[in-house]
Symmetry: C2
């Protein structure tokens, strides 16, 4: 993708809310997009493949050139471990202006040091990537039911 | 309750994991305990009614005198707004030793300033208390499916 490019995974429908997917692997993005389409119709998945694009998307949205996402799905290895950590830290710094956005890490890693370090950076929750498509559907359905139906997020009072 | 007292809501079964419920209202605790029994059998709900008891329970657990909870449910108004904020801040300070524990706020308030301030304190998620028992069951079932089946927490690698 070109610098600062982003790709919307669904045609935007009425009431759809952007979910920003930060994922460097195109195959993984395809799986996530399809699974979201199937079980998360309220989401308009937006793909960015690196930290720079993610920040550019968010800054543009804040400046009025797009809609802020309700959730961010972040792959930690982009492709290096440091890339995801750096972005997570940038987002969660109080002065970033994005610190209220919930970040769900989707990572293939189940290493305890990755899990602990992620929570240490005040992420919202850490999800180990499912191994097959059916598991993706189960996980994203549970995630949707929780974040859409149960939780109240900033800017969306109950 | 006596100072530092806490009450286990279920008899502890094999494989049950403590969930710390910080709630000053005994009627609300009864509803939460019954709903958890019904839809969240893996949880052993532990009741404390104020911030001091919550910290005492956690410090005792860390010292080996009990088990650390996997999740904390925190009522913000204990009964004053400042009480819940103060506890949330104490838990989430990096040097507290408890900053990795996920905190789900269960509050009757849907005031935007409460929601935003809670996320500003890096809480995990903010849930407005349901209005009736069936809604409690729906919310806690979705919460259980997400936190038990989808998310990986520190100390519990996938």
């Amino acid at each position: 993708m070109a610098k600062n490019a982003y790709i919307a995974g669904n045609r935007q429908g009425v009431g759809q809310t952007p979910v920003l997917v930060v994922e460097d692997n195109a195959d993984q993005w395809t799986i996530i997009r399809e699974a979201l389409k199937e079980c998360f119709p309220e989401a308009e998945p937006i793909w960015v493949s690196n930290a720079g694009q993610a920040l550019a998307y968010l800054q543009e949205a804040r400046a009025g050139g797009g809609r802020m996402p309700k959730l961010i799905f972040l792959d930690l290895y982009l492709p290096h471990r440091e890339d995801g950590w750096k972005l997570l830290k940038q987002l969660k710094e109080p002065e970033s202006g994005f610190s209220l956005l919930p970040v769900v890490v989707l990572s293939h890693s189940s290493q305890p040091e990755d899990v602990e370090e992620a929570y240490d950076f005040w992420l919202t929750s850490y999800v180990v990537k499912p191994l097959d498509y059916d598991q993706w559907i189960n996980s994203l359905t549970a995630l949707r039911n929780y974040w859409w139906n149960v939780v109240t997020l900033p800017g969306q009072p109950g």
